[in-house]
């Protein structure tokens, strides 16, 4: 995008400014959703079922409603219209209508004078169920067709099947010197944001609804409310409150948001709901458990001739983002190393568990873990250095992959060099030679790379409108207000808007008022997901600010009597570059512009470039740009306990250009932390033989890293500017998580010679694999096979190299 300024001229971009809301956050004054208290406000409690799979036969709310202080009780009959984040999966009800699909599914809700009264009333609601057989795993879902959890999808308890082939993969494998096959399992885990979801609804006497809610996607919540409540969207205002962490877990429209809105409409009073930590586990939408099989052909030099990747996703009880997640488990394998022919088959199942959805890295950490461990095994078989093998076969910058993803800037080679040099890789990795170990037995290093999108190329619902809009208003006293639908979830997106506008207008970022995530006041931005915000809002902000700048410059040039190209904006002034002392203050420039043009307001918007892929299914994977990361992990495995300690991670991230390096560093370190939690301890686990109940819906028992488990991190920022990024910037919120799990898994192998092909790597699994190794058997822990299912004929697409045009080949000619 436009950024005429050279690096040396940048005054704000690239500098470690504080966030515009830093003081509020450090003084506890940031108002989160649960911090909102309105006069006459009622409190909501939601009754959630204890049955994993059952028909609702009857709900008796009479006793609950009779209690003093109870204002309303509602059930599924009051909210009969289904909704869901994806147009193809409108399968949720705010309150279950005829059946429940997992323990925690909501069946009724109460509004009462306080939380205690609401809680007591909730417990007086009587629900009769007729139990159904449960489906608790991928294996059960593909085996058991009846009962069906949902009546839509690709048959039985299969939600979605995908089969795509780019080029002739079997021919590619036939050309290989070596074909390797592996099976992996990545257990599900959850976001665990520190802030529990909360929402407050107010239905005013003039018939307008306002919802304050802790959401990453106010625009999609707005749409869902209009649909389910049958209110005109113009009568609904959604204000996303600052999120106390999101990580993807607040990206769906949620039942509690619809419920409090309905209760506010019924009672005429504000209604608040704040979920308990246990309820947050039932909201979930976290990492899908994925079983994966990968078969790859390579030449002796490690170049890939063809790859066939299969993934089996345990989706839980609802669709959520699952169709997109399924495609994402197959989409980004091709954007790091050259894969000339590629086949992907994916299947998502319904099971009686909380629904899975997007968590940091959405659908890609699982296949990335599989791919990078698989490549480590290939490197060993070929006796190649894993870093060298990768670096020799990187995807080319500014190229198009076999599955039609357009690569822009590509700094992975530099990332690899940094972590290899920084970690002392060559002095630690013993080149697959156990006899001449460089590190003592029990200590090891592992390496992995990755890439991630900077925003999805396509919106969630089909439309040709911009994905991000920014509106600027300039006040005659020099005030600048930037308005955008984006929502700050802690990543600093409000600050990014201020920095970019300040850079273009030559003012201080702290002079700017940032108004975001209010559907009444701000232009639509699709939300804080898919690492889209810096790139898309940044480009929209540049456009809006450049348009405002143009008006200011014209007015100032006229006043100063100089050509417009002579007018510069910097340091809160507009001046003649040839006589810098000749100029006006920024506020005076606005007065001149307002005098000349009338009230000064400008807009900017951003629409991603069209993707070269035109085949069915090509909507997932394209992005304006791709970020790149490489990591080396060093750790220790205690052979008597199986405990893995990660001591240090070196990570390099190709950010394109840091809009603010200190915020980039924070995202890298936070991603490393979350990846470390996933590989070592975090798991959504259920007691399958006890009605699929969640084993431990609490923060104490869902183990996540504390300061004592967190490793040291050395970060390198690589700046390979991308022409599509604002000032060249790419994403950093999600990508740096991706190389961490496989780097740790590879380090475990390097330390003690066992492959743990299942995430998380718990001490039990390491011990089992060590025992196998002792007995001379396969020194490995992990799944042995994948279910056999009937895949549809793959949709075949010629690769760009084969002269393809991005469209699928007609099925007729395929079979002729």
């Amino acid at each position: 995008m436009k950024s005429n300024k050279r690096d040396a001229e940048l005054k704000v971009v690239g500098k470690p400014f504080r966030k515009v809301d830093a003081r509020s956050k450090c003084t506890g004054q940031t108002k989160f959703a649960d911090d909102i208290f309105l006069p006459r406000m009622l409190y909501c409690k939601i009754l959630r079922t204890h049955e994993p799979h059952a028909l609702i036969k009857n709900i008796d709310t009479a006793k609950a409603l009779a209690g003093p202080g109870v204002f309303a009780v509602i059930t599924g009959q009051d909210l009969p219209i289904p909704y869901g984040i994806l147009p193809v999966s409108q399968d949720e009800h705010a309150l279950c209508v005829d059946k429940v699909r997992f323990i925690g599914d909501p069946v009724a809700a109460v509004a009462a004078m306080d939380e205690d009264v609401a809680f007591d009333a909730m417990n007086l609601i009587e629900v009769e169920y007729e139990r159904l057989q449960t489906i608790s795993s991928i294996e059960e879902a593909v085996m058991i067709d009846e009962p069906r959890i949902h009546t839509y999808g690709d048959g039985g308890n299969i939600h979605k099947k995908v089969s795509l082939e780019f080029g002739d993969v079997e021919q590619g494998l036939a050309e290989a010197d070596l074909i390797c096959e592996d099976t992996f399992f990545y257990e599900g885990n959850t976001h665990l944001p520190m802030e529990q979801h909360a929402a407050v609804a107010h239905f005013d006497p003039d018939g307008k609804l306002t919802l304050w809610t802790s959401t990453q996607t106010p625009h999609y919540v707005h749409r869902a409310l209009a649909k389910v409540l049958q209110l005109p969207a113009s009568h609904i205002r959604v204000i996303a409150t600052p999120n106390g962490g999101g990580f993807g877990g607040k990206s769906d429209p949620f039942n509690h948001e619809i419920i409090v809105s309905k209760l506010a409409m019924i009672t005429g009073r504000p209604v608040k709901v704040t979920l308990t930590r246990e309820e947050v586990f039932y909201c979930h939408r976290g990492r899908h458990p994925v079983l994966m099989h990968v078969r790859t052909g390579v030449k002796k030099d490690g170049s890939i001739t063809g790859m066939h990747f299969q993934s089996f996703l345990d989706g839980g009880g609802y669709g959520s983002y699952g169709v997109a997640s399924t495609f994402y488990t197959g989409a980004l394998q091709t954007v790091t190393y050259n894969i000339p022919r590629y086949k992907f088959q994916g299947v998502r199942c319904f099971t009686n568990k909380p629904p899975c959805g997007p968590k940091r890295g959405h659908g890609t950490p699982q296949p990335r873990y599989a791919l990078e461990v698989h490549l480590d095994k290939i490197a060993e078989q070929l006796q190649l250095d894993p870093a060298e093998m990768r670096r020799n076969h990187l995807v080319q910058p500014y190229s198009v992959t076999a599955n039609y993803l357009r690569i822009g800037s590509m700094g992975l080679g530099q990332c690899l060099e940094k972590v290899v040099a920084g970690s002392g890789w060559r002095n630690k990795f013993s080149h697959w030679n156990e006899q001449n170990r460089k590190l003592p037995l029990g200590k090891g290093v592992g390496l992995a790379c990755s890439s991630y999108i900077c925003g999805a190329g396509l919106p969630i619902y089909w439309n040709n409108m911009p994905q991000s809009g920014v509106q600027l208003r300039l006040d005659r006293q020099g005030g600048v207000c930037v308005m955008c639908g984006s929502i700050d979830i802690g990543q600093g997106s409000d600050s990014i808007l201020a920095y970019i506008v300040a850079e273009v207008l030559g003012i201080d970022p702290f002079d700017i008022r940032v108004v975001t995530a209010d559907t009444d006041l701000t232009p639509v931005d699709l939300g804080s997901y898919s690492s889209r915000v810096t790139l898309m809002t940044g480009n929209a902000a540049i456009q809006a600010a450049e348009r405002a700048r143009e008006l200011l410059v014209m007015a100032v040039a006229e006043k100063l009597g100089v050509p417009i190209e002579n007018v510069a904006l910097a340091e809160r002034r507009a001046f003649d570059v040839e006589n810098p002392e000749t100029g006006v203050s920024f506020a005076e420039a606005v007065v001149l512009a307002e005098t000349k043009f009338g009230t000064i307001g400008t807009v900017g918007s951003y629409t991603p470039p069209a993707s070269p892929g035109k085949y069915k299914g090509s909507g997932v994977g394209p992005s304006p740009a791709y970020s790149y990361s490489a990591a080396v992990a060093e750790g220790e495995v205690e052979p008597s306990t199986g405990i893995v300690t990660v001591e240090k991670i070196w990570i390099a991230h190709d950010i394109g250009k840091s809009i603010n390096p200190v915020l980039v560093m924070g995202q890298v370190e936070g991603s490393v932390y979350m990846g470390l939690g996933e590989i070592l301890m975090e798991e959504m686990a259920y007691r399958a033989n006890r009605n699929v109940v969640h084993k431990f819906p609490s923060m104490l028992e869902y183990k996540s890293p504390t300061t004592l488990e967190m490793c040291d991190v050395t970060t390198y920022l690589i700046e390979d500017p991308d022409p599509n990024g604002p000032f060249g910037a790419k994403e950093v919120g999600q990508g740096p998580l991706l190389p961490v799990p496989p780097a740790v898994a590879n380090a475990v192998y390097n330390a003690v010679g066992v492959r743990i092909d299942e995430v998380p790597i718990t001490p039990e699994k390491v011990l089992k694999a060590l025992k196998e190794k002792e007995k001379g058997r396969d020194a490995r822990y992990g799944p042995d096979s994948v279910p056999s299912i009937d895949w549809p004929d793959p949709l075949r697409v010629l690769t760009p190299e084969e002269g393809g045009d991005g469209r699928e080949m007609p099925r007729v000619s395929v079979h002729s």
Partner: protein
């Protein structure tokens, strides 16, 4: 509706305070709901995450596990009492400078635990910082910016001139 409210007097952020509340309420609930001090956050309300930490007589405690009644005659300090008017505490300054508060939800708890640490030990080692903060969960930062902020604040509170560490901001070159 026959609940009888309890009534206590205590010192809150240096001010003599009286409050009436339902006697079963935790200090967390009293602070947020009856005194309007929303700076104290909650992550679990079961004593698992450290988010609701406040200082009682100078000691960090989990306000979700303490009854409001037990605050009687004690000195309670919340995040609202950490800055001196418009003058931020050195820890608040360094948390802001280093991005140690990302979403900011766990920050009040971390800041108060760190203040307790620095009140006892102005020269903590990295290991001592980790140990002191080990009862508080943060999902955003990976804790590293928090350690760096605590160490920088400690140095400044010792009277040392200290710039922001370059590697913490730009990464290793």
């Amino acid at each position: 509706m026959t609940k009888q409210k309890a009534h206590i007097k205590f010192t809150l952020n240096g001010e003599e305070t009286e409050v009436a509340f339902a006697p079963h309420k935790t200090l967390l609930e009293v602070l947020r709901e009856d005194l309007g001090l929303i700076g104290t956050k909650h992550g679990c309300e079961l004593g698992e995450c450290g988010t609701c930490t406040v200082l009682v007589n100078g000691q960090a405690i989990l306000s979700c596990l303490m009854l409001g009644l037990d605050a009687e005659e004690r000195q309670v300090k919340t995040i609202e009492g950490m800055a001196n008017g418009g003058q931020l505490h050195p820890l608040q300054e360094t948390f802001a400078d280093l991005g140690a508060a990302q979403c900011g939800y766990c920050s009040p708890g971390f800041l108060l635990v760190a203040e307790e640490l620095l009140n006892k030990n102005l020269r903590p080692s990295r290991e001592e910082v980790k140990e002191a903060l080990s009862g508080n969960l943060c999902r955003c930062t990976g804790y590293i910016k928090i350690y760096e902020a605590v160490e920088l604040a400690a140095a400044r509170m010792r009277g040392e001139e200290m710039e922001l560490p370059r590697e913490a901001i730009y990464g290793r070159q």
